[in-house]
């Protein structure tokens, strides 16, 4: 473990040039934390390299000085993986944001780690293609950060996680070595696929400096439907009914308190007058009247069964966008309440029973706290957000939530689920890793970390302690 000596500022500046090393309080706070607000940032310095060689030189220097590094992307992470609390050097990839070497035959493109997710989405659209990983923070998050958290988002049900779109990546390890992993190959069965170890490693194995990303065919005419649903089990029945008839590209849900907050704070119209305890948002490609008729027929069946109370469907792209905002704006809308986030999952078939149990525990444990449910329920993944009551001390709040989390995670464990479906572990979920991973698994993870980072300078203390 690094013992955080004073940063070698002059040497850092010699590597990256003047004006690219910061130690002022504003920069330390800005670059030293992510979207979480539970840990005060305290990095020793911030450095912004502009090339792979500069990253390697910084890592060599840090290794020589035994200085810990926190790789930093768009800092939108929700598990404090990118928070520097212990005098680490923050290595921010913002400047390495070039998109190059688009290959229309392979449908791949080379991205610097600092390319913003939305920048890649836009680039793909300009080529008539599609980069399908998408979520509310894609305007700020970076490809390097997405890879390091294996980000999921709102299109996983059809297009999978970030992992599925990384054709190759380059990593600077804890020794400063540059690894060129998989080189864009579709098929490459030559031993361990180290690329997949790096995806989701939250910066603990090294710095992702570049990635070759796969692009997809652009979807045609997407229709967005919002349905009012009486309870969580009905949500899963609705999912099943629609999936029998249509290929869904999204199946999201949110609760009435979530909708009420978004409508009030974003000035958006409600989808329909009927108030329902839960709402499902579906997206599918409509190839003409056939799909639309099928969708209507399923809707009628669901109403007949009592699984759906009311619904609407987008008649234009503007409406599609506004309906999506009802779901996508939730995270940002509730941020002022410093929500304590649980990001839990189980296999889809077990979701109804699983949620029944979780809901019962949560309602009993938090009679006074406001609870906001939303998430990617079509993937078996829900975000359970507990809002901090005004005036309650933040540490006390986190402590109380942590206690209840244990009850929730007991259920997660019994269902063979995950305590962090897509947000990673970082600092926030570190104490709960054993609910989803066995001691033997965690020990092998430690050994893998040592193999990539023998000195333990890469984001130490995140995910697990050595």
């Amino acid at each position: 473990m690094a013992d955080n000596p004073c940063p070698p500022l002059a040497q850092l500046e010699a590597i990256v040039g003047a004006g690219r090393v910061f130690t002022d309080a504003d920069s330390l706070e800005h670059y030293g934390r992510d979207w979480t607000r539970f840990y005060p940032p305290a990095p020793c310095a911030v450095v912004l390299p502009g090339s792979i060689e500069e990253v390697q030189a910084i890592v060599h220097l840090a290794a020589a000085e035994n200085l810990a590094i926190v790789p930093s992307g768009g800092r939108t992470g929700l598990s404090a993986g990118g928070v520097a609390t212990r005098g680490e050097l923050v290595l921010a990839l913002d400047r390495m944001n070039r998109i190059e070497d688009f290959n229309p035959v392979d449908r791949t493109v080379r991205c610097g780690a600092g390319v913003v997710t939305e920048q890649l989405q836009q680039f793909a659209a300009d080529q008539g293609l599609f980069y399908p990983v998408d979520f509310a923070s894609s305007g700020s998050s970076q490809i390097g950060g997405n890879i390091s958290t294996n980000a999921g988002g709102i299109k996983v049900i059809r297009h999978g996680m970030t992992r599925d779109w990384v054709a190759g990546l380059k990593l600077v390890t804890g020794t400063g070595e540059l690894l060129d992993l998989n080189r864009g190959l579709v098929k490459n069965n030559t031993g361990y696929d180290l690329r997949h170890l790096v995806i989701g490693a939250e910066g603990t194995l090294g710095v992702v400096v570049e990635a070759t990303m796969q692009l997809d065919q652009a979807p045609k005419d997407l229709a967005v439907m919002v349905l009012g649903v009486p309870d969580m089990p009905a949500l899963m029945r609705v999912l099943g009914a629609f999936r029998e008839q249509l290929t869904l590209s999204a199946f999201e849900f949110f609760s009435e308190p979530a909708l009420a907050k978004v409508v009030a704070h974003q000035g958006l119209p409600r989808p329909f007058e009927t108030e329902a305890p839960y709402y499902a948002l579906l997206e599918f490609e409509q190839s003409g009247e056939v799909d639309m008729d099928a969708a209507m027929a399923v809707f009628e069946d669901c109403v007949g069964e009592g699984w759906v109370l009311d619904g609407t469907i987008s008649q234009s792209l503007t409406q599609a966008e506004n309906l999506w905002r009802l779901r996508e704006d939730i995270s940002e809308t509730i941020t002022p309440w410093t929500p304590y986030k649980n990001d839990i999952s189980t296999v889809i078939s077990k979701v109804p029973d699983f949620l029944d149990e979780v809901e019962a525990v949560v309602n009993a444990a938090y009679p006074d706290f406001e609870i906001i449910w939303f998430g990617h329920i079509g993937d078996g993944n829900v975000h359970l957000n507990i809002l901090k009551p005004e005036g309650l001390d933040i540490d006390l709040f986190r402590e109380q939530c942590g206690e209840v989390s244990k009850l929730v995670f007991d259920i997660v464990q019994r269902y063979g689920g995950s305590v962090s479906a897509e947000h990673g572990v970082g600092l926030l979920k570190k104490d709960y890793l054993q609910y989803s991973r066995s001691p033997a698994e965690i020990e092998i993870m430690r050994q893998i970390k040592r193999a990539f980072d023998p000195q333990g300078i890469m984001n130490p203390g995140k995910i697990f302690d050595l």
Binding site: K220, D221, M225, L227, P269, P271, F272, M296, F299, E300, V303, D310, G311, T312, I313, S314, Q315, S316, L317, T318, Q319, E321, L323
Partner: protein, 249 residues
Amino acid sequence: MKVLVAVKRVVDYNVKVRAKADGSDVDLNNVKMAINPFCEIAVEEAVRLKEKGVATEVVVVSIGGKTCQEQIRTALALGADRGIQVEVEGNAEPLVVAKLLKGVVEKEEPQLVILGKQSIDGDNNQTGQMLGALTGMGQGTFASEVVVDGDKVNVTREIDGGLQTVALTLPAIVTTDLRLNEPRYASLPNIMKAKKKPLDVLTPADLGVEVKSHITLLKVEPPAERSAGIKVADVDQLVDKLKNEAKVI
């Protein structure tokens, strides 16, 4: 009181339109189409008048090929009672549309005709005014508020420097501006009910109108690409560039 609403099928507001490679027209192949946003506002206003008990029937008319029935169905789902399609292939010019609408007005005898102030494809802003001239009805254009009061309608208009309210004797014509209302979503039950609402198809001949074209489209080309901005090092350099390069100060 019967209200007639005209709606147009146009390229969806959010689509980035492209010119055809040969520059002959805008490329509409595989492009999302939707109801013109100003027409959507017109439908919403008519439906609100009906909900308030002011209007008794809302008839929606669209002029175009068979596909424009989709937009008529959308309007029916939003609350209109029946639809009329006047079948015209290709893009009818505002004068032709106004003449066809005049034919429909004579047939239906509405007390109020509500149209969008313009369609976002042609941006002509002519049809409502031409219809006013052809029918001799009073017109309140760019409406941000519509209040029916007995045999009059008071229309608040957004004009340069403020708001103007005109009182029109019914029957009258209103064209909508953006701030008149916020259209609702069509609910799925209403979309299904809309499928059963009556939709009549008329031809221009039924209305005694000959479809003529007075305009020839010569060329469509995309606007020149804007050159990228630059970053200046400091205020001095900015002032220098504004003075000596842009010559604006």
